[in-house]
């Protein structure tokens, strides 16, 4: 339960959640009334339903919702809106010049490109790891399963200095890479390593519950009907885990795009080569170039909103997928 709980916002919604969010009215009536009338009412169009008396039985609706909305407004929404408000004070030309300047575009390429590479790596290895952790037994499995969440709990700055130490020229793993002529620290490869670390839990934790729920009987049936193992993967298992897999991938990508703490230690922060977009915002701020910082921040925010929207669409998809299956 705890596992499901902690990753609920990372994983496709469960059935209960789904029932409550998609048809809240039906859910409520089922718990309160035993008569068959609500079933009848449900088939009526919304406007034809009579108003339901005292639907909110429990107290505190106004207080808790009011507080939650006010809190989110003050801490999250108004501050974020401030970025767009400030950006809207610029002329379009000004905004365009800043956000498409050579140095800024170079950071987009690094941030979005390397994040993609890291998220793809996590998608591939995460799929293998989730499969192994759910299906096989091997010594130390519990420890490996438990440690998956480490990037989630370990401060990014700590991860950053640890990874830099490992992959530096004299480092534990770095010495081998440097011997082969691969510069792992202070390069894009370093950024890639840090972003892979940061996004590691998402694909695994999104896939695990889905793989656990997967009916072994369906696979047995598939094998009985003469399907080879590959055919079963392709036609039975893969379609079932696809939405969760894509959700995990997008979450890892979203996390990597915004990541700052672990990257700045290992990247070396060279303009045009290893400078990420969040860092250029910090640099603009240090030089009191607020207009530049605001414009680039607005672009980053829009990018994260788009990824978040995509994740929401994916979750809707996996919800409808779950319904179709059951």
């Amino acid at each position: 339960m705890v596992e499901a709980a902690s990753y609920r916002f990372l994983s496709p919604p469960r059935k209960r959640q789904d029932a409550a969010s998609t048809s809240p009215r039906c859910n409520d009536q089922e718990t309160i009334s035993m008569s068959p009338i609500p079933t009848l009412l449900r088939s009526l169009p919304h406007s034809a339903r009579p108003p339901k008396p005292n639907r909110r039985v429990l107290p505190g609706f106004g207080l808790t919702l009011g507080f939650a909305v006010a809190y989110l407004g003050l801490i999250v929404l108004i501050p974020l809106a401030g970025v767009f408000l400030r950006a809207s004070g610029m002329t379009w030309e000004e905004f365009w010049t800043i956000t498409t300047s050579r140095s800024v575009v170079a950071t987009y390429k690094i941030t979005f490109g390397v994040s993609l590479a890291a998220a793809v790596t996590n998608a591939v290895f995460g799929l293998i790891a989730a499969w192994v952790l759910v299906r096989y037994r091997f010594p130390g499995k519990r420890i490996f399963d438990g440690i998956v969440d480490l990037p989630f709990a370990l401060p990014t700055a700590v991860a950053g200095i640890a990874l830099t130490t490992i992959y530096a020229e004299t480092g534990f793993l770095g010495q081998f890479f440097y011997a082969w002529g691969i510069e792992t620290a202070y390069s894009r490869i370093g950024i890639y390593i840090a972003l892979t670390f940061i996004g590691l839990p998402f694909v695994i934790r999104c896939l695990q519950p889905v793989l656990e729920d997967l009916d072994k009987e369906v696979e047995e049936a598939s094998a009985t009907l003469g399907a080879g193992r590959w055919q079963t993967y392709r036609r039975i298992i893969f379609p079932a885990i696809l939405p969760a897999w894509l959700t995990g991938f997008s979450l890892a990508y979203a996390r990597a795009v915004g990541e700052y703490g672990s990257v700045i230690f290992i990247s070396g922060n060279m303009p045009f080569r290893t400078e990420i977009t969040p860092l250029i915002i910090v640099k603009y701020l240090e030089q009191y170039q607020f207009a530049e910082a605001t414009a680039v921040a607005a672009v980053m925010l829009v990018a994260s909103f788009i990824i978040l929207l995509f994740i929401n669409i994916l979750q809707r998809w996996s919800e409808s997928f779950g319904k179709a299956r059951s």
């Binding site: 718990t31 919702l65 507080f67 929404l77 091997f138 438990g146 440690i147 370990l154 925010l301």
Partner: protein, 293 residues
């Protein structure tokens, strides 16, 4: 084909013998494949997770226990620890109250825009931490919307403690709410309805019925939120100005020490936070194991 074979008695034995491996691997992989996949997983997780964790403690103790302990005998490091503890002591309770209120509203009532509210709770998670600090500079900074007003009132928010608390709170908003919502959703509303029917007040219902049901999930949420609050970096760096001995939190102090080539003290401070992360993970697994039993 195979059905035909079984009809001929003499061939039955051969059919069985040849089909044994096929049925054995019909719903699992060949042992060699299993070994390969397990090997890949163990290597991947060891390289990416165990090595960094090990490195933190290895580097912190590389010059021996005495040097490790001596690292904490530094005014700036002590101040950074104090500042981090104070920040978490404000940010975590704020997010605890918010988490409980949001979870109560979302799981015990039906209203329009519920899924929008849930999405907004997740928002800080996908926003870059740098932006989390930047937004408060835009509001309270010298050129910010409320900058002149704040200055007139004599309060310093940016490059000071309040700014650090704001950026940390922003970054850790989702954690407790997201822990509670699925738990309380799964509990349903029947027990609360029963309590109300029996005449309990709203507060009594919450403390005697709802809270005992979710207390361990809530506990883990608080621990996770605390670990994240203490580890907050990007947002705090932007908003605090990183003034050693004044606005440096633990993570900022780590950065400063590391860039000053003070490796042992940097990893010594990092080891404290890594230990906190380990405790968080162990607790999560213990609670999971306990609830599965």
């Amino acid at each position: 084909m195979e059905a035909k074979k079984t009809m001929h008695a003499p061939k039955l034995h051969r059919f069985r013998a040849s089909s044994v491996p096929r049925t054995r691997f019909a719903t699992t992989e060949h042992p060699a494949v299993r070994w390969l996949l397990t090997g890949i997983t163990v290597t991947f997780l060891t390289v990416f997770l165990l090595f960094p964790l090990f490195t933190v403690f290895h580097e912190a103790f590389s010059r021996g226990m005495e040097m490790y302990l001596a690292s904490f005998d530094d005014r700036f490091i002590r101040h950074s620890i104090k500042l981090t503890l104070m920040t978490a002591a404000i940010a975590v309770p704020l997010n605890l109250i918010f988490g409980i209120a949001a979870a109560w509203a979302v799981t015990k009532f039906d209203f329009r825009g519920k899924s929008l509210l849930v999405t907004v709770i997740d928002l800080p998670f996908s926003v870059s931490p740098v932006i989390a600090g930047f937004v408060f500079i835009l509001i309270f900074g010298a050129h910010g919307y409320l900058g002149p007003w704040v200055e007139k009132a004599g309060i310093q928010i940016v490059f000071a403690f309040p700014g650090i608390v704001l950026a940390t709170t922003f970054g850790t908003v989702p954690f407790i709410a997201r822990e509670l919502i699925p738990l309380m959703e799964a509990q349903g509303r029947d027990e609360e309805y029963a309590a109300m029917t029996l005449g309990a007040s709203g507060w009594r219902t919450f403390f005697k019925v709802t809270l005992p049901n979710v207390k361990w999930g809530l506990f883990y949420g608080v621990i996770l939120c605390n670990a994240r609050a203490m580890g907050e970096f990007g947002g705090v760096e932007v908003v605090s100005g990183s003034i050693s001995g004044r606005t440096n939190t633990m993570t900022l102090q780590i950065q400063q020490l590391y860039f000053d080539y003070a490796t042992v003290p940097a990893f010594a401070v990092a080891s404290v936070l890594a230990f906190l992360a380990l405790v968080t993970l162990i607790l999560k697994n213990a609670l999971e194991w306990w609830s599965h039993r």
